[in-house]
Symmetry: C2
């Protein structure tokens, strides 16, 4: 029976790493396989740089890490911050052998 | 540095299992460590029994499974269903040695 794939692929990690370390004008932090606190720092840094809102995005098993990041940001570093919209969706990833895998994703918006 | 714990404890599994198999009048499905499709079936069954809305709850690493369950329910079994509010929070769990662990949790409401 077809199931959602939740493996953390190398592809996802690369993408997340690239996005996390590059400053983007749309204020998005992609969660990858690094430690949770690194992404917490990335979010707090974007707010310190003047962002009014930051989106935390993750796919597959990294979704739970995204929730951890948002909860740590607002409980420990930015008690005045609020969680805005939370959206979940399904993305189709093409694997190297040409087959398609469905994977769940989440986007959590934090507002200053 | 203190971090959110995301281990799946036996305690959580027991609780989830109990809730998943017992019919509750508040229409909640707790995600545990069983296969994803079992929880999909639990949600669909509640709707078939007349529920107007079902809440899917999970903690820690099981949060990503909760998102999978909701996505599979609405894409494969109930295309007319809508995702209602999604709430994330932090719960404090007392471990056996008396120490407190913080763990993230999610509640996703699905509406018929």
């Amino acid at each position: 029976m077809e199931e959602h794939k939740t493996e953390e692929t190398g592809q996802m990690e690369d993408k997340a790493t690239t996005h996390q370390t590059s400053k983007r004008d749309d204020n998005t932090v992609f969660i990858g396989k690094k430690g949770t606190m690194g992404y917490v720092l990335a979010v707090v840094t974007q707010f310190n740089n003047g962002a009014e809102h930051v989106s935390v995005k993750a796919r597959g098993k990294l979704i739970s890490r995204a929730v951890d990041v948002v909860e740590i940001v607002r409980h420990r570093f930015m008690p005045e911050a609020k969680v805005g919209s939370i959206d979940i969706s399904t993305e189709e990833l093409m694997s190297e052998d040409g087959s398609k895998n469905k994977v769940s994703s989440i986007e959590i918006k934090i507002q200053r």
